[in-house]
Amino acid sequence: MRRILIFLFVTFTFCPYLYAQEGLERNEEVKKLKEEMKQFQAQFEQKIDEMKTHYDEKINKMQAKIEQLEEEKAAVETKPYEVAQLPQTSLGRYFQSFNPDVSLIGDFIYHGTNKKDDEVYNQFKMRQAELAFSAPVDPYSRADFFMHIEPSGNEWKIGLCEGYLTLLDLPLDLQAKVGKFKANFGKVNRLHLHSLPWVDYPNMLTNFLGEEGMSNPGISVSTLIPNPWDQYVELTLEAFNNHNSTSFAGTEGRDMIYLTHLKNFFEINDESGLELGGSFATGPNDDGHGKNRTNLEGIDLTYKWRPLKEGLYKSLTFQNEALFNQKDQSDGSQIDSWGAYSSLEYQFAKRWSTFGRYDFSEFSDYSSRHDNAISTGLTFAQSEYCFWRLHVKHTDRDYNKDINEVWLQCNFGLGPHRAHEY
């Protein structure tokens, strides 16, 4: 009995401690398990995220691939279908592609002047309509025609300003032009009225080469001269009928005018370039088959600047030309005369530009007479195909009264303009 009592005493005395001990151990175990569970959960979530990212990427890749394949398939499938669906458009273009590019450019002016004998004294004038056709003829050549429709009193006359074939596929880097074309003398002689940066031609050109410059039937051959500096050097040789009456023999002439032109272009940087040209033309100035000759030498210098980034809004062209004339006279004497112009054109906004030009020119037949002219003007380009221009000019003539002139020009074009040369 005593033993039983001792056993019971010991049991009741130490059991709570044992219970407590056991409880603590369990708590720790639960805590540990919870932590493990958390870790497992975190790992599981991480795995799930990784898998999700992995499968997302895969799905995206597959989606991109599907879209790409669908587009490629659509591109292949729709092409013949589009042709079939739009027969008029496609067919129209198909036939049009065999037609030449046709352009029509109108040049309308108001000319105010104090020169009372001028035929367009304070009048409106549809100065010119230029009709242009151009296209490749075959794989070896292309053709360009420029016809001018101009007023002549109360009538209208149509004339061929230029019409020539360009042979593009000649050996030794040669190119040739045959037909009627503007002579490659200097810079401004090659420009048509509508592509001038002013309303009128410089006095130098009209006094020595005629109202619209020198343009005659002939042949022209040009080549690029190779050089170790990779510069653009073009040499042109031309022979054409002696029909220029201002400096040469005119329509009575049965001889040729021979011309050579050397064009050098130096790229200063991506935004600017300098062109230096030299020209020489020679031909009889009477019907004496070369007894009396005219020699013309020309030099031209043009600097162009157009910033690449702001090229839509700013540009500058500084163009200068000088021409020297030695003309034999029938009495054995020789007239030495010359002319020059200097022009600065500045574009200050997308649609606006201004210019100033100074002209000095003697005459082909008179070295004792000369013009001094100063011009300024403003151009508003309504769009690429239509511009308005105001040009004011004062000409000081030492052989007659001074002239004050003002032009308001509107120039507008239809059809695809042929790209303009630099």
Binding site: A64, T89, L168, Q175, P228, Y232, F265, E267, G311, L312
Partner: protein, 306 residues
């Protein structure tokens, strides 16, 4: 006389040296820097590439400087964007170069637009200039869709392989790497722009239809009243109303346009002007096609997030 002979021999030796150096690699002239970047990836060290237009220049208005003719003269391959983007200068440069190899129809002339998916192809039988500077064959800014660029890359690889068959495997390998990278980048660009799917944006010029089409955005108005026609005050007022009404956040424009009209619209409407390059080299960071698209996507998403 000896001096003249010496000078002539010296000059001749210069030409010969220059020519033999030039023959080492395929000489390529591209019209834009985007094409240059793609060709450089595909052609690797087998090609030498130059571009006519700079990345910060409006590709519609490039002058045919005679120095481009000298570059074209030496080219084995001329690559253009096509769709009349280069109508103002391409013919002058090719004719002026007297290089028969790069004429249209020759192996040395590649129109990169062959086979690309085009947008805005006029469906009416008559288009005219009252519509502005529209391109009768479709919008030419197709390089801003990365999937079209894969077609361009494929065109280039094929043509290079025709010009240099012995390197065909090399070009094919480069094409495969290019496409792989493009796929990876496309996913990345899509991920960034997915949150803005269906979002309206304003643009300056109609250069962005391919980009917005690919990434699910909507170019709902343009600052130019018609392509190539400068913004007028009347039209800008309409744009401001539209931006306010549609809660448009971004006016996206290229680096070479005048920012004044866009800033005016932004001030009046609360939208943000985002100026981005649209061609490689448009800014210093746009070193190649991938970094170009990285910049466009980054700047656009940053502005849309605000």
């Amino acid at each position: 006389m000896k001096r003249i002979m010496f000078f002539m021999i010296f000059m001749l030796s210069n030409f010969i040296t220059a020519d033999s150096y030039a023959n080492d690699k395929i000489q390529i002239l591209t019209t834009t820097t985007d094409l240059k970047s793609i060709v450089e990836f595909i052609g690797g060290d087998k090609v030498k590439v130059d571009s006519i237009c700079k990345g910060y220049q409006d590709p519609h208005f490039v002058e045919a400087m005679p120095s481009f003719m000298i570059k074209a003269k030496k080219a084995d391959l001329f690559i253009r964007v096509g769709l009349e983007l280069e109508i103002g200068y391409e013919e002058l440069i090719i004719n002026g170069s007297r290089n028969q190899k790069i004429r249209i129809g020759q192996l040395g002339h590649l129109d990169a637009s062959e086979g690309v998916s085009l947008l805005e192809v006029p469906t009416t039988t008559k288009i005219d200039r009252s519509m502005g500077d529209v391109h009768p064959m479709g919008n030419p800014h197709y390089w801003l869709d990365p999937l079209n660029v894969k077609v361009i890359a494929s065109n280039i690889a094929n043509r290079l392989s025709e010009i240099s068959p012995e390197d065909a495997l090399y070009f094919k390998k480069n094409l495969s790497e290019f496409n792989k990278k493009m796929d990876e980048k496309l996913i990345e660009w899509r991920k960034r722009l997915v949150p803005f799917k269906g979002e309206n944006i304003a643009v300056y010029h109609r250069s962005w239809p391919y980009f917005v089409n690919r990434f699910g955005l909507v170019a709902s108005c343009e600052l130019e009243p018609k392509p190539g026609i400068p913004p007028s005050s009347g039209h800008l007022k309409e744009v401001i109303d539209k931006i306010t009404k549609e809660d448009i956040k971004v006016i996206l424009m290229e680096v070479f346009y005048d920012e004044k009209p866009a800033k005016f619209v932004a001030e009046q409407s609360g939208a943000k002007v985002v100026v981005v390059p649209n061609s490689v080299g448009g800014t210093k960071e746009a070193k190649d096609y991938f970094s170009l698209m990285d910049i466009i996507v980054k700047r656009l998403t940053e502005a849309l997030e605000q």
